[in-house]
Symmetry: C2
Subunit: 202 residues, 2 copies
């Protein structure tokens, strides 16, 4: 749609961020392994050479997407578990869950990709290790809340951690930004269900 002369540095308007967005969407739709750089070029209407001007490899795109998701989730958890963090363990755990919902919704494509990673390469194994660290930190926060007496002691902490993250992660399967539930409503409903329960309070 442009009549400007051809440029050596790729099509105008495409930068690394735009290529990454399309790549993540394509990886989620077709699967990372089944998507080639040729597929990505076709989807973007670019030559492969133009893409390689912006990005090194398919794996670099994967790493960038996984880091996008992991950096945000790590920031949420790190904030809650640092020694000088304010508030009870219960408050900090509830904040982690609420903010994780917000991160998931704001970064849904890259979190979706993260949750499908199975460890088929060095990049994927690194991502799985970072995810495991987050799971451990969450489980520690659950244990701290049980110890302070604010969280049920009758459920296994590791199981509670998995259920909580499982609940948050399940949003990628059905949440639609175009739907009727805005992020704050979803975050409220999810944290209320998890911490206060669905049963009417007496």
């Amino acid at each position: 749609m442009t009549s400007s002369p051809p440029r050596r540095r790729g099509r105008p308007g495409y930068d690394q961020a735009a290529i990454l967005r399309t790549a993540v969407e394509l990886f989620n739709r077709r699967g990372y392994d089944a998507t080639s750089m040729g597929d990505l070029a076709k989807e973007l209407g670019l030559s492969k050479a133009a893409i390689y001007h912006h990005v090194e490899s398919k794996e670099q795109l994967l790493a960038a997407a996984l880091n996008d998701a992991l950096d945000e989730l790590t920031a949420v958890v790190t904030e809650a578990v640092r020694p000088e963090a304010e508030g009870s363990a219960h408050e900090r755990l509830r904040a982690v869950v609420r903010r994780s919902v917000e991160v998931l919704i704001a970064h849904q494509p890259s979190v979706t990709l993260l949750l499908r990673v199975r460890g088929n390469s060095e990049v994927e194994l690194d991502a799985l290790q970072r995810r495991r660290r987050l799971d451990e930190q969450l489980a520690e926060l659950v244990s701290a809340a049980v110890q302070e007496g604010s969280l049920r002691a009758d459920l296994p902490p590791a199981l509670v951690g998995r259920l909580l993250f499982g609940l948050v992660n399940s949003l990628v399967e059905w949440y639609q930004p175009s739907g009727s539930d805005d992020p704050a409503t979803v975050a409220d409903a999810l944290t209320t269900m998890a911490f206060d329960g669905l049963t009417t309070p007496r």
Copy 2:
């Protein structure tokens, strides 16, 4: 490992159920679309002809697996919503959630396959339609529990239904039969979290 003479009706010990089990495992590992009947034959150590003696097509295997999951889940939901069902809507909803966890764990491979279906064929579209019907019935049960005053009225019922099924379905991502949590413990923890909340009761 057998010295018995070759048989015309496939290898001894293989029947349709055993072929289905292996097919579902393979579909989950590699993706349904990426798995051929040749792959399945190789995995089973059978000839393709031997497999076709037992099953009509790859799609028949998919349909059988999806129906295995859907028949069980439908039985759970139908039992709870039939007009003569006993108990409050709250009790019936809680029973649906608990029994869905048990079904998911007992039929984890076929439920996993069901949750990955995206509607690429008639069989998949039928399965999606049956899933949607279950979602609707669950949402109606949530509304009935809100109306009887036993379930929080401050959360949108459709959203609550999606969160509840999302929580149950998230088990396919991490539950391992060989792990330390038995099905009853998981079902207890999940229903307790969803209905009573994780916060220590006053």
